[in-house]
Symmetry: D4
Subunit: 152 residues, 8 copies
Amino acid sequence: MIMAASVLVIMGSKSDAPVGEKVTKILDRLGVKHEKIVASAHRTPEYLREAVLESDAEVFIGIAGLAAALPGAVAAITIKPVIGVPVSGKMNLDSVLGMVQMPPGIPVATVGLDNGENAGVLAAEILALKDPDLAKRLEAYREERRKAALSG
Amino acid sequence: MIMAASVLVIMGSKSDAPVGEKVTKILDRLGVKHEKIVASAHRTPEYLREAVLESDAEVFIGIAGLAAALPGAVAAITIKPVIGVPVSGKMNLDSVLGMVQMPPGIPVATVGLDNGENAGVLAAEILALKDPDLAKRLEAYREERRKAALSG
Amino acid sequence: MIMAASVLVIMGSKSDAPVGEKVTKILDRLGVKHEKIVASAHRTPEYLREAVLESDAEVFIGIAGLAAALPGAVAAITIKPVIGVPVSGKMNLDSVLGMVQMPPGIPVATVGLDNGENAGVLAAEILALKDPDLAKRLEAYREERRKAALSG
Amino acid sequence: MIMAASVLVIMGSKSDAPVGEKVTKILDRLGVKHEKIVASAHRTPEYLREAVLESDAEVFIGIAGLAAALPGAVAAITIKPVIGVPVSGKMNLDSVLGMVQMPPGIPVATVGLDNGENAGVLAAEILALKDPDLAKRLEAYREERRKAALSG
Amino acid sequence: MIMAASVLVIMGSKSDAPVGEKVTKILDRLGVKHEKIVASAHRTPEYLREAVLESDAEVFIGIAGLAAALPGAVAAITIKPVIGVPVSGKMNLDSVLGMVQMPPGIPVATVGLDNGENAGVLAAEILALKDPDLAKRLEAYREERRKAALSG
Amino acid sequence: MIMAASVLVIMGSKSDAPVGEKVTKILDRLGVKHEKIVASAHRTPEYLREAVLESDAEVFIGIAGLAAALPGAVAAITIKPVIGVPVSGKMNLDSVLGMVQMPPGIPVATVGLDNGENAGVLAAEILALKDPDLAKRLEAYREERRKAALSG
Amino acid sequence: MIMAASVLVIMGSKSDAPVGEKVTKILDRLGVKHEKIVASAHRTPEYLREAVLESDAEVFIGIAGLAAALPGAVAAITIKPVIGVPVSGKMNLDSVLGMVQMPPGIPVATVGLDNGENAGVLAAEILALKDPDLAKRLEAYREERRKAALSG
Amino acid sequence: MIMAASVLVIMGSKSDAPVGEKVTKILDRLGVKHEKIVASAHRTPEYLREAVLESDAEVFIGIAGLAAALPGAVAAITIKPVIGVPVSGKMNLDSVLGMVQMPPGIPVATVGLDNGENAGVLAAEILALKDPDLAKRLEAYREERRKAALSG
């Protein structure tokens, strides 16, 4: 269970795969090394714990729906930045509030509902603070986005 | 950290004490042995884990506000019934939905906002299935409630 | 209307059948005897009352949408544990809040929206407190769930 | 438990008294005979049932907070019009949705949060259909309200 | 624009027709004379006003979505009972709260979202107070509903 | 009831006065002539109608809480711009959604909860399109706001 | 980037086009000159700024979903009236509240969810204050709407 | 307006000071250099822009209530990580959703309502990726929190 990647992307369930793919697509686009696993805060808490503790990732991304405890469970066992992506379902407020409303001292950096792209960009922004080349790729990506919008 | 009680009442934070007292008050009233601790799914996850695993309680009650992951974290490591009491705050929907919307396979028996009394009664109802004397005390309590309401 | 089952599953309407099937599927899987009926707190209150009083079930599960008063109506006439499954519709907050926000003294153990599986597991967890074989089956089911998640 | 009044006002709990007083104040003002009791759908379901069945009231008003099942429980056992007043608390959406979202066939005429006055006026409007004098008093009350507003 | 019916059913827009049909279907079933029109509180306020004032209906039913001001606008110009049916859309809370939260003195008897059947039943319950034959038909309808539920 | 003012500020109830004062304070500050009355869409619909039709105001501001139908009722009888200010209460979503969710063809320009200042500024922005001096005063006010913020 | 139109319609993203078309359809119908662009408060803030500052439009309409900051960003750099149309998505409350809840001093005239028609009508109402011909066309449009509703 | 700090804390209004103090208190505690200013996305957009562009901070924290556009406006002009703290008010869902629901490509790392401490901890976690001493201080802080919880 050793992982050599800058970002560990953790999905709470196989059904979160479409959002997970948005994350890895943008990470690939930005040239950020990553690994992606399925691990549940509730069904496989020990595996989740081991995966996080043994990982040498610098940023964690937790993707989950419903009560969406996954990224909070990760944040509880690491001082690395943890990003959370709430997944849409029948209520939506459950996953958004279940991620963002963490107790003081254990933050989850929550992005928008199903917004895997923003989780990936945020992870890249964090890593770019010590990787000037990544910063350049982020600028280029931002510029490309800008042009695509203007060409509308 | 060995506990010899039928019910282990776990508060996520010291600030949950008023709701915790509602729980212990009704458990005392019904003659149910219990122990009460503070343990956080996010700040002290290992202590929480040990406390649950070492406990010989038959029912667990988790009391928490905000994202309210505590009872779910307990439910993830035991097959004993876990009751959750969402604690009120600035949003309320966060703690209610964060408890009730558990993934399939790991239930939390959620009661109403700040409703510590109902958590205690539910725990007693569960334990009364194999304790006829407790069942009688529950009936008496229910009758007393009934009379108090009628005397209004 | 005599029932010899550990769990009485009550659906408020025929339209709740898909959620009811999730409940009985997991109860069958766990080897828990159960009976399933349709009875409404509003359309057939007397039949509901009789069914509950005459039942020798140890746990009741009420499945209902909209105002979702069914499990509360059951809880009002028994001191056995009552589990509620809110059914989704056009609002969702109606059935979730209508179940969980019971008055003090009359708890409904509410599980997630449409989450029949969790109602069944919770009922089994309660019954397993005095049935070591069921406890073993619950552990096996939990383990199976764990492996299925890890194989993702 | 015999009642000789046009309107039976039922509060689910003693704590609903302030809203109950708004109801009786306007009924007194409009000269509508009424009786007021405390009866709970959950704590005293049998007493509630008897009170409704034995009453010769023509309109029922149920006042309740939280899941607010009271007026629905009344509507389940009478074909007389039942008016519901949701009482405010920590969530508010619980009592409003718990009253208004009744299943097809069993209506509760829901008025606004804590709006006891509107429950009383609605009851009077219903009774005025066969009481021309009451209709005149309603018109006078409406006119008085109008003038009070204009004098602002 | 003279109407000779017990109930005037007013839809705020042609798109409310499916809910309107639920109302007239149950009124037909219960033998209640009714008329149905389209009139908007915002697009045709004068026509709405005339239709209400010239009508000799005893009960008004307003069906509307979005801000759902229609039944309130009717209630403002009559002391007859006014029933409101909120119509579902993209938000749902808009029409429910826009109907039920009327100012003191001007009640709208709000029923559930899209629940045209309950509006019709409530209108019949009101009219049955002075029409014993209608009361019998209501009882029969209720009994039929009961049997249909039991046959489930 | 003749009014010679650029803006007619209408409060639905005397209790809306604090929000009404915010509106008139900023209108005075910006030198916009205005008149302020209390008129209710539900309690005094005819007076409201007359006040609007007889007014030569160019912009109307409706201030209301609860279902908040007032500005919509004004918009229904004029093609002048109508601004709505939802007033806070126990629910807040009622007045916000009750104003903003108008049917197509009859807009209400809704500003924030209790935000009387924004209603006044918006009215001034509209009137400034044909009043260059007012535009200058608006610019000055904006600049003053800017400096006050920077001095923080 | 010079624009010679009375109304500048700005969509935050290409995906807002269906709502944008509702706006331009009604503006065309009412004979109001307009231009329509795509510009994002977040992706192309500088282009947005330039487009607004260089425009000689008298009214701005911002169309956006999600956090929906677009019309607020426009309002921050002009004292011309700015109308906002929240676009529906998975939450809806995000775009509605993100537009209407502006800070004091910087109003956005918010209309209903996806209600492009109302944005166009509101813009026309504002412009009609100094364009009597447009006022007549607005009256005609209103009358047409009225007749279409009555013919239902 | 040159700033030499690792974190630039920006409050949208002076009234956000209590939350701002929570941020600076934890940053001081963790030994993170920071500067704190008041700048509004709506009232002082140019000053905000300059402050962000001229700053050599590595992480930005935006604190705002209501529509809460501030952190999004910062994120639009930098590729540095931007953290958002929604400030509580009369609605709460406005500021939470207004921050978290950013469009794809421009993330805001949203933390809980009024949870300034979590914004500070998250900023420190990000900076600690290239500052081993800060990582140690974070560990120590986490341990202290843990002990404080256990001593409860």
